[in-house]
C-alpha cells in the first residue's frame, strides 16, 4: 500500500510538535496574549460605542428641549422670562447653546483588531460655528488601564509577536535534522530534501494559521458578536494575515536552505525580524519626518490667535465700531442687554470667524498636507517591510488609519461650514432679531457619517497578489538552493 507523503509528514509533524514542550508552552503563552489583545481591542470598541450611544441620547434630548422652549416662547407671545443670552429664538444664541451638533466617525467592528490611530485621534467632535471641539467623554477615561496599553491589540500581536513564534517554529527545520543525525536516514529515503522540507513547512504553516484563527474567531465572536464575519474587510484581513504568516514561513525556508547551524538560522531570522519589523519602519519615519516635517499643533493655535489679533487690529475695528456705535445695537451705550446687542455680537462673531477660519485653514492645510505627504510616501515605501505593509492594511481594514481620521477631520470642517451657512443668514436677519423657529430647529444640519473605506477591493487585491508573488519568490529561491545542495 502506498503512503501519501502528505499524510506521513502531517502525522510526523503533529506528533513532533505536540511533544515539544518548549513550543507548546510558547504557543500557549502567545495565544493567551492574543486573547488579551482581542479583549483590549474589543473593550476600546465597546467604550466608543457606549460613548456614541450617550451622544445620540444627548442629541435627541437637546433637540427636543430646544423645540419645546421655542414652542413655549411662541405660545406666550414671544415672551421669554429668562436671561436674554439663553433665548433660543435668537439664532446666535442657539448657534452657541443647543444648536451645535456632533460629528461622529462610526467605528468599524474590526476596530477591535487594530486600534491604529483610534487611541490618539478624535472619533467625534462637537461642531460650533466658531470651532470643532474634540471632547473626551467621562466614560472614556474611567479605565486607565486601557489608556495605558492602548497599542496592545491583535495587530500588534500578529505583526510583531507571532513572527517570533514562527521563527521558533521554523528556524531549525533542516539544521535540527543535521544536528540530531536524522538527516542521513532522510537522505536515504526516496524523497528529495527540498520536497520534504517544503512539505513540513507547509504543514506547519497550515497548523499555525489554523490554530491562530481557531482562537481568534470564537473569542472575537464572544467579544463583539458574529457580525464581523459577514464583512468583506474581515475576509481581506484573513487573507492578508495568512499572507504575512506565509512570508515569515517562506523567509525561514530560504534561511534554512543555506544549511547553516540552528544558532545561525535563529540569529539570522531574529535579525531579519528586527530589520523588517522595527528598524526599517522607524528609519522610514525618521527620514520622512525630515523630508516632510510636520508643523506643531502649537503653530496651528498660534496662527489662529494671530489672525484674530490682526482682525481686531485692522478690519475688525471698523466692524466693531459700527456695531458698537450703531443705534440698533447700542452695545456701548446700553446699561442692559438689548435684543440688538445680541444681534450685534452675532454679527461680530460671524464676520470675525470668517477671517479666522481663512487664516486657520492655511495652517491646517499645511499640517494635514504634510501628514498626507508622509502617508503617501509610506504607502509607496511600505513594500520595504511586510510588517509595515500589514500594519497599514490592518489599520485601513479596521477603519483606524491616519488617512481615515484625516478625512473625517476634513469632513467635520466642511460640516462646520454648512453649520455656519445655516446660522449666519439667520443671525444677520435684522427685521426682528428673534428669527429662530421650531422649523429651523428641525433644519439644523446633521453630520452625515461615512464609512471611510478608503481602499478599493481592486487595490487590496493587487497588494495581496504582489505579497503572494514575494512569498513565492522566496520559496522558489529556497527550493532551488535545497535542490542544488542535496545533489
Amino acid at each position: 500500500m502506498q503512503a501519501s507523503l502528505f499524510r506521513v509528514l502531517f502525522r510526523h509533524e503533529l506528533i513532533s510538535l505536540y511533544r515539544n514542550r518548549v513550543l507548546i508552552t510558547l504557543f500557549s503563552i502567545l495565544l493567551v496574549l492574543l486573547v488579551g489583545a482581542l479583549w483590549m481591542g474589543s473593550s476600546r470598541l465597546h467604550q466608543q460605542q457606549r460613548t456614541l450611544g450617550q451622544i445620540r441620547a444627548h442629541r435627541v434630548a437637546a433637540q427636543d428641549s430646544l423645540k419645546a422652549r421655542i414652542r413655549r416662547i411662541e405660545a406666550h407671545g414671544m415672551y421669554y422670562p429668562g436671561f436674554i443670552w439663553d433665548d433660543p429664538t435668537y439664532a446666535y444664541n442657539t448657534a452657541r447653546n443647543e444648536g451645535p451638533q456632533y460629528a461622529v466617525k462610526q467605528p468599524f467592528v474590526l476596530q477591535a483588531l487594530a486600534t491604529g490611530q483610534s487611541a490618539m485621534q478624535p472619533f467625534y467632535y462637537k461642531v460650533y460655528i466658531t470651532r470643532k471641539q474634540a471632547l473626551v467623554h467621562e466614560s472614556e477615561i474611567d479605565n486607565s488601564f486601557l489608556q495605558f496599553v492602548d497599542t496592545f491589540d491583535f495587530s500588534f500581536v500578529v505583526v510583531y509577536l507571532l513572527p517570533l513564534l514562527i521563527i521558533v517554529f521554523t528556524y531549525n527545520l533542516l539544521s535540527s535534522e543535521k544536528e540530531q543525525g536524522t538527516w542521513v536516514l532522510l537522505k536515504t529515503s526516496n524523497q528529495s530534501i527540498a520536497r520534504l522540507l517544503l512539505g513540513r513547512l507547509g504543514i506547519r504553516y497550515g497548523l499555525f494559521t489554523a490554530a491562530v484563527w481557531a482562537v481568534v474567531v470564537p473569542v472575537l465572536t464572544l467579544l463583539i458578536g458574529p457580525s464581523f464575519l459577514a464583512t468583506t474587510n474581515w475576509w481581506w484581513l484573513v487573507a492578508f494575515v495568512a499572507g504575512y504568516f506565509a512570508f515569515w514561513f517562506a523567509l525561514a525556508f530560504l534561511v534554512n536552505s543555506f544549511s547553516l547551524s540552528s544558532n545561525l538560522n535563529a540569529m539570522s531570522l531574529i535579525f531579519l525580524w528586527l530589520l523588517l519589523g522595527l528598524l526599517l519602519p522607524n528609519l522610514l519615519q525618521i527620514g520622512l519626518n525630515r523630508v516632510y516635517p510636520i508643523p506643531s499643533r502649537i503653530a496651528l493655535t498660534k496662527a489662529e490667535r494671530e489672525a484674530t489679533n490682526r482682525y481686531f487690529e485692522k478690519d475688525g475695528q471698523l466692524l466693531t465700531k459700527e456695531v458698537f456705535n450703531s443705534p440698533r445695537t447700542l452695545i456701548r451705550q446700553a446699561s442692559i442687554v438689548t435684543p440688538g446687542m445680541v444681534y450685534g455680537y452675532g454679527i461680530i462673531v460671524s464676520k470675525s470667524q470668517i477671517i479666522k477660519d481663512q487664516a486657520t485653514r492655511v495652517a491646517e492645510n499645511n499640517l494635514y498636507g504634510q501628514v498626507e505627504k508622509q502617508q503617501v510616501a509610506i504607502g509607496q515605501l511600505q513594500w520595504l517591510s511586510p510588517a509595515l505593509l500589514l500594519q497599514e492594511v490592518l489599520a485601513t481594514l479596521a477603519g483606524t488609519h491616519w488617512h481615515q481620521f484625516n478625512r473625517f477631520s476634513r469632513d467635520v470642517d466642511v460640516f462646520r461650514e454648512h453649520t455656519q451657512q445655516f446660522f449666519y443668514p439667520k443671525m444677520a436677519l435684522e427685521s426682528t432679531y428673534r428669527t429662530f423657529t421650531v422649523k429651523d430647529a428641525d433644519a439644523i444640519p446633521q453630520f452625515q457619517s461615512r464609512a471611510y473605506a478608503t481602499y478599493s477591493g481592486q487595490y487590496l487585491g493587487r497588494v495581496l497578489l504582489l505579497h503572494v508573488v514575494g512569498v513565492l519568490v522566496l520559496m522558489v529561491l529556497g527550493y532551488r538552493r535545497l535542490l542544488h545542495a542535496s545533489r
Partner: protein, 235 residues
C-alpha cells in the same frame, strides 16, 4: 547487484578513493576492512549518493547512482555507526515515518513484525527513542531497512560500541537478510565479524583495494596477518 567501476574520489589534492573496482552479487555480504581514512566510508557515501565520484561509476542493480539517484535510493538502506532517530518519537513511530517516506504504509502488526525480525523487544516499541540504547537504535535501523524492502544494505561500522550479545544478534539479522537476497556492503574494523559474516572481504589502504579474500578460504589468523601486512605497507 552493487558494482564499482574505476571509482575515484579526490578531496582537493587528497586521493580518497583510487580506481576501485567491486562487484557484489545479490545476497552477498561484502566486508571492507582498512584503517581510518582508507576509503571505506567514502565508497559507501558514493553508493548512497551522498558524495559525487570524481571519476568512475557506482551502480546499483545496473543503475548508475549519479544519474538515477532517486531510483537507487529507493533500493538501499543505510545503517551508520550510530543510528540517529527522532528522540521524541517512539521506535514504532520512527519506523512508520521512515518507511512512509519510502512510500510504504504498514499496519501496526506489520511494523511489529519488522521490529521482531530485527530483534527489538515488543516492550520497547512504544517507548520514546530518546531512552533507547545504541543496540536498540541499530535494531530500529534494521527494521527500517526491512520495511523499505531494500535490495542493498550499506553498513558503516555498525557493531562499533555494541556488546557481544548485541553484535551477535546483529550478525544473525544480516545473515537472514542475506539469505533473502539482500546484498550488503559493510565497512568495519571488526575482523572477527568480517570473517564470520562476510562472504568476501576487501582490505583497503590509502584509497585502493589491496586485497580481496573469500572468508571461507582464510582463517581468522591469516586474515589478521593479511590485514596487518596491508595496513602497515607504508609504515
Amino acid at each position: 547487484m552493487l558494482q564499482a567501476e574505476q571509482l575515484t574520489k579526490r578531496f582537493g589534492a587528497h586521493l580518497a578513493l583510487d580506481h576501485l573496482d567491486l562487484d557484489i552479487r545479490s545476497g552477498e555480504v561484502y566486508c571492507l576492512l582498512g584503517s581510518n581514512g582508507a576509503g571505506k566510508s567514502t565508497t559507501i557515501n558514493i553508493f548512497l549518493g551522498f558524495l559525487p565520484a570524481t571519476s568512475g561509476r557506482a551502480l546499483i542493480d545496473g543503475l548508475e547512482v549519479s544519474v538515477n539517484n532517486h531510483a537507487t535510493r529507493n533500493m538501499v538502506a543505510y545503517i551508520p555507526e550510530v543510528v540517529n532517530l527522532y528522540p521524541t518519537l517512539t521506535g514504532l513511530e520512527n519506523l512508520a515515518f521512515f518507511s512512509g517516506l519510502s512510500g510504504y504504509a504498514y499496519s501496526r502488526a506489520e511494523l511489529r513484525s519488522f521490529t521482531q525480525t530485527a530483534g527489538l523487544q515488543d516492550a520497547a516499541l512504544d517507548q520514546r527513542v530518546g531512552g533507547y540504547s545504541k543496540g536498540m537504535r541499530q535494531k530500529v535501523g534494521i527494521a527500517i531497512a526491512l520495511a523499505k524492502q531494500a535490495k542493498a544494505l550499506f553498513l558503516d561500522e555498525p557493531t562499533s560500541g555494541l556488546d557481544p550479545h548485541a553484535s551477535n544478534e546483529f550478525a544473525q539479522v544480516i545473515t537472514r537478510l542475506s539469505s533473502q537476497g539482500v546484498s550488503t556492503l559493510m565497512a568495519t574494523h571488526d575482523l572477527l565479524m568480517a570473517k564470520n559474516l562476510g562472504h568476501r572481504i576487501g582490505i583497503m589502504h590509502q584509497g585502493r583495494l589491496q586485497q580481496e579474500l573469500h572468508s571461507e578460504a582464510v582463517s581468522y589468523a591469516e586474515l589478521t596477518d593479511c590485514y596487518l601486512t596491508t595496513v602497515n605497507q607504508s609504515v
